[in-house]
Amino acid sequence: MTSDTSPARARPAERAGHEQAAAAARLRAAAEALSVLRYRPAAEQRRASRYAMRLLSTHAAKADWRSAGLPPPLADPPPDPAPPRRPATPVVPLTDPAVLHLARAAMQLHSTELRAADRPRRWAQLARFFAECLTEPTEELVRLQERVASARVNAGDTSPEVLTALLATLDRYRAADGENGYRTGLARANLSVAYRHRGSGADLATATRLAAEEVRARTTRYGPDHPVTLVARSLYTLSLLVQAEAMTAPAAQRALATRALAEITHVRTVRDRLFGVTAPNATRSRRHEARAFILLGEFDKARVCLECTLAFESVSNGDRESQESGQTHYELARVNRALGDSGKALEHVQQACRILAMHNPQGIAAGKAAALLAELSSSS
């Protein structure tokens, strides 16, 4: 029956659909808001991760989140997200992208308290969990699988399987979004990192080429100092540094290091301004700057730079000893050795070995630190 004012269609289904979409949107936005907290100290990130789990446990369909590698939810009861006099919010199905987004945010926050070596397993667990929930691969799942591959690279795994997965992701995004699509850029950057970590044959040159392509694409699209462009510029300089470190010809090495220093100093200055001098990405750039000074033989400058890095890392990390601070200790050991202070060098390399072994005992960085420790111990 139609009237002049009311539509004929049944309303409960429309209303239920609207309410469910609204519940999913709330979870989706909560995931974004919680991700903002990743610049807070570790303890607060842990709380944020568990709060995300509480939202999932309360508003998403029932699931064994432990099997997805996620932490337990916060113990205390959740506040009612709905204003008074409103019916209870519907349950969001696990197949809704909002659930995966929130679970991903929870894992991102949770992973800061995990050792780098343990992260790939947890990310893989999460990806498997959703692969089983979803009947076909969604865009969100593809991005999650890309995240698994990146975590593996960061833990030192550059096996053909990982490289193939990253290449396939890049091809997929190239086809879907074009050469300059945002996701294409992220995938290209991830592949560049993987080549740099593997570092065999033409890998370093390929890593630098991919990073340079990404810098060009992002500069055109967003401008040179956009945070997204800065990530690409930072990757590019790191590729240059690693290439320079692998060189034996001093003149070529110097030329590359000089280029890297100019670039990374600019990146670091902008990051200091945008994120603050103690932000993890700014301190990372500062450490790279020190590596350029080391290559140029300016060890006093490198030492000052690294001591600042260490101080800022401790502000950002609190009691937690991050893998990155292990790398800073390693660089300080190299600098002190070059400056002839073997006592300090030994002190720093011991710290580096302890921290890096704690995070990723099989990683390249831990191996380098162990080699330096052996060298310094035998000469003292």
Binding site: A23, Y182, R183
Partner: protein, 296 residues
Amino acid sequence: MSSIRHDLDVTHTARWYEAARNAQRSGAWDERVLCYAALSEILAEHRAQCPAGEAHSQPPIRRPGILTEVAHRAHFASAEPVYRRWRARQDGQPIVRWAGEDAAVKPSPAFVAEAKIVAFWPYRDGVLQVADVFDMTLIEVAAAYLRAVATWAGEHTPLAACHPAGPPACVIEDMGVLAARIPPVGQVPPAPGAARLAELAGMVVGHVLQDSSITPLGAFNTVRDDVLRLLSDPADSVADRVTRSVAELSDQLLHQVHDEPIMTVGQARQILTALDGLSTLLSGIAGGSAAAESPR
């Protein structure tokens, strides 16, 4: 920052939304929801028919006579009852239109503005809930809010592109609430801050419409610098200022070009003496467990 939440709960739009969804009027609300859903369907079909641009960019969408289409799609017997809901003269409508009684606002734009607000509202809710629980700073609230705006635009792209393309109108109001908390610098009023923040929200949506593959973080990053500049507290702690100054001074010294004067010998000695004294004082604090209580 719970007072931000309180202020955002009592904006004109927040009060309108709460009243519109009031249980006693749920029948009227359901009919509105039906109209919004019909609009989304029409726009989605329009999008499917038009080829996407590079990186799936979404050009602005203009559909003259959209309310007639909506009435037809939602199976109203005629278009008139739909127009009546969004006319300036409300004539006893159970839910007043969001745009108020301004006759200059025609029914179609009034309807589209409302549809955008209603689609965005749960995203806003989700952000404010987290902001409240974690006592977010002003900058964190702005970042979370703008990321939610980007998420909304990514998930409701045709609606975001619907003329006038851009964020929901309530964003301007909400940005006004945030801008009112910008630490005062001299006698500068908050109004320019509100307008600038709203403009940045528009840029965020613009980036999403330009490249549908951009993430909410990526879209927010396009305006991060401006947001920080607008909302940073100029009167931050002396410890923060010293940290920044020390970093700046070491940078200048590290990258000093020959003959470029940075300081006199006297100044260098003076700083050195001050730093020696300060080191002694700081070691008393840093020796304990202070590192664990690092400020945000």
